[in-house]
């Protein structure tokens, strides 16, 4: 063998060895990826509060850097209106709990949508973001945390638009700016793998948003985020079915005015059908659709850790109760005589639709319970059940899941469908009534007193971080805006109507009995 042949042979062996090393390294990387994710086995309450539901949003460094880089988007009311947590109505976290994140945010090592493993932690949102609230009686009151109550201050849609605006800003939202801001805020250095993942996320997220802009329009920005003319959802409300039309049917849903308050999730064991219009039967499907509406996918919802968290969260809400009214407001003594009289009023005028508490934590069903009453008959706002694609969304939802897919809903579990096509609202049990504020499906009635027409319903008021009035059992809504109550709630615009559900009587209408209504209100506070 000549020297040349020897060199050639040596080169080939070297090439093979290098290639073999690459193949082995690649296999090791694939194996190592599985170690990036640390599935946590959680109990039902922790799953609800801290578990991933497949709704990862952004890398932790981005989450930390955004409010620093974009005060215009994350403090749209100006610095004097507080930090981003206050301004968007999130619930501040506690040091040492869930990494100090605001309630409803979680950390995981799953990449968004695919659930693929990531070396850098991602921040996501889970059930407790929307279904957990603070009850405060004044701005200085530290408040009581109410698990399961719809968040009364969270302006989530506006926050999402602010977030989108920031991501789309190519000049200010650069990888280097994120790295610098994060390292300054946290005092921690990012590894090359972390930086790579942040960069990748930014490229992908921006591309997705840019692709969506022609269809969904550009997000609102800055002070417009607090303008109800542009951001009509406002605090404590969302448009879940608009998002489903977008995510499932790939349609813009721009004319959808189906605003919906963030619902309370107390004692779901008594709820046969979910949603205000009774459109979803199976409890797992309710949660899956809610997760899909905010970015989860079939792919990541099928992962054991994530599907377990979803199921555990459902379990948590089955018998979840709000603390008793008397516990939250110990200074507000309920009059037992009024309660007893109010119970009779309730049984006369409310029971057939809503049922009443039985013995040992049971619920005695009303004759009309689970019946969907046409919205015209109730006289309430019909936008929630008359959006475009209302009729066809059910088929689209079911068909979006392939046959045999474990999360695929049964067609009969979705309405409109084989189980009914009535456009209306479902009669449901009233549990923890005082903790459902604001009232009606669109959150247009601030207090229980106004809901039962003991007091007039305000037509124009301001929402935001509203304090709670235990007398009227609901939110205190001012006539004029301030730094905390900025959202102009005009009940005359589509989707915001506060009319209807005039039970037992219309305000000062025929049969109106103030004393009986006061008794009824007292009784409702005990539920």
């Amino acid at each position: 063998m000549t020297l040349r042949q020897k060199l050639g042979r040596g080169a080939m062996i070297a090439a093979d060895l290098v290639t073999a090393a690459l193949v082995v390294a690649t296999l090791l990387l694939v194996f190592q990826e599985s170690k990036w994710v640390h599935p946590k086995s959680m109990n039902a309450e922790d799953s609800f509060r801290f578990g991933t539901t497949g709704t990862e949003l952004m890398p932790l460094p981005v989450f930390v850097a955004l409010p620093v880089l974009f005060p215009d988007q994350f403090q749209p009311g100006g610095p004097e209106a507080g930090d981003w947590i206050q301004q968007y109505g999130f619930i501040r976290g506690q040091a040492g709990v869930n990494d100090g994140l605001p309630s409803g945010f979680f950390l995981s090592n799953h990449r968004p949508m695919s659930g693929s493993p990531s070396p850098v932690q991602f921040v996501g949102i889970n059930c407790s973001l929307c279904h957990q609230s603070m009850i405060r009686r004044s701005d200085s009151d530290p408040g009581v945390l109410m698990r399961g109550m719809g968040n009364t201050s969270l302006d989530f849609i506006a926050w999402v638009d602010g977030f989108k605006t920031a991501v789309l800003d190519k000049h200010r939202m650069t990888p280097n700016a994120i790295f610098a801001a994060y390292e300054k805020q946290s005092g921690q250095k990012l590894s090359p793998a972390d930086k790579l993942m942040v960069w990748l996320w930014l490229v992908q997220a921006r591309k997705t948003l840019e692709n969506n802009e022609p269809k969904f329009d550009a997000p609102y920005s800055g002070a417009d985020l607090r303008n109800s003319e542009f951001m009509p959802n406002g605090p404590s409300r969302t448009q879940p079915f608009r998002n489903l039309v977008r995510n499932i049917m790939d349609r813009p849903a721009l004319l959808d005015h189906g605003y919906c308050k963030l619902p309370a999730l107390f004692e779901q064991q008594f709820r046969t059908w979910g949603q205000f219009d009774g459109s979803v039967h199976d409890k797992l499907t309710r949660s899956v659709l809610a997760a899909i509406a905010v970015g989860a996918t079939m792919q990541n919802l099928s992962m054991p850790e994530i599907s377990n968290n979803v199921e555990q969260s459902i379990q948590y809400t089955l018998d979840l109760q709000a603390p008793k009214f008397a516990t939250v407001f110990p200074d507000m003594k309920l009059d037992p005589n009024k309660v007893a009289r109010g119970a009779k009023v309730y049984l006369t005028y409310c029971d057939s639709c809503h049922g009443h508490p039985g013995d040992n934590g049971t619920w005695v069903r009303g004759a009309q319970e689970d019946v969907v009453i046409p919205y015209q008959k109730l006289g309430v706002d019909g936008e929630r059940v008359s959006f475009r694609y209302y009729e066809t969304l059910g088929d689209a939802l079911v068909n979006w899941f392939p046959p045999g897919q474990s999360l695929r809903p049964r067609r009969e579990d979705i309405r409109p469908g084989p189980m009914g096509r009535t456009r209306g609202y479902i009669c449901v049990p009233i549990t923890s009534a005082y903790a459902h504020a604001p009232y009606l499906h669109n959150g247009s009635v601030p207090t229980l007193a106004a809901l039962i027409n003991l007091k007039p319903r305000p037509n124009l008021y301001y929402r935001g971080d509203n304090n709670y009035d235990p007398v009227d059992a609901g939110l205190i809504v001012p006539d004029n805006p301030d730094a905390k109550r900025y959202f102009r709630f005009d009940t005359s615009i589509p989707g915001n109507s506060n009319k209807g559900h005039d039970y037992p009587w219309t305000y000062k209408g025929p049969g109106w009995n103030e004393a009986q209504l006061q008794d009824l209100l007292e009784y409702l506070k005990t539920l």
């Binding site: 042979r9 080939m12 062996i13 090439a15 093979d16 290639t19 073999a20 690459l22 193949v23 390294a25 690649t26 990387l29 694939v30 990826e33 990449r111 968004p112 949508m113 695919s114 693929s116 493993p117 790579l196 990748l200 996320w201 992908q204 792919q299 099928s302 392939p402 046959p403 045999g404 897919q405």
Partner: protein
């Protein structure tokens, strides 16, 4: 292996591209948020270059042992890359659910893909374990070498758009060129006298 006398050079010629494509497909997908999906896509892209080489070696004239060896290696490594694609497609993307594959892809495409996988796998095994020149294997391999590129053509040129189109066109061009070379060789063999002579008058 010894009977075939696969040389280091032959092995290196096939193994190095395989290793690089394998690494590029799996590591390159790290640049995506949807790791399994991109691995599914990149691995089928990675399958095509060695498959094109193997198809060409199968079509081209001359049946030297050296060329058979190189064909076998490229054919095998292409199949291994295809199996990476198959894993990410069926086991990950479609959650190991055959019914989901058929629902999403439709019976024609899903059935064809499964046939590709099984047939190609069987042929690779036959190629390694059967060294005798059996007629039924020749027929089987000929049919596979018609069917497999046809299905890849449909997928890479007709169904999907993007970079894969380039690979599809390259495969098509390579096959056409190799067939022409084979045809020319066949013509020359049948007409040795005038094949190379310029035609006058």
């Amino acid at each position: 292996m010894n009977k075939r006398n696969i040389t280091l050079g032959q092995f290196t010629a096939a193994f190095v591209p395989f290793g690089l494509l394998f690494t590029a497909a799996l590591v390159g997908a790290e640049t995506s948020l949807d790791l399994p999906h991109e691995r599914m896509v990149y691995s089928v892209w990675a399958t095509m270059p060695p498959m094109i080489v193997a198809l060409c070696l199968f079509i081209l004239p001359s049946r030297s042992q050296a060329r058979k060896n190189v064909w076998l290696l490229f054919w095998t490594f292409a199949f291994l890359l295809y199996m990476v694609h198959f894993y990410y497609a069926v086991m990950v993307h479609y959650h190991a659910s055959i019914s989901e594959v058929f629902h999403e892809q439709g019976a024609k495409i899903a059935g064809s893909n499964f046939l590709d996988t099984i047939w190609w796998g069987v042929d690779v095994i036959l190629a390694w374990i059967v060294q005798r020149d059996l007629k039924w294997i020749r027929v089987e391999r000929l049919l596979l070498n018609i069917y497999l590129p046809l299905t890849f053509f449909v997928a890479s040129v007709v169904i999907f758009k993007g970079f894969v189109n380039l690979l599809g066109y390259m495969m098509t061009a390579a096959i056409v060129i190799c067939l022409l070379v084979r045809l020319r060789a066949w013509w020359m063999a049948r007409h040795p006298a005038n094949a190379l002579e310029p035609q006058h008058g």
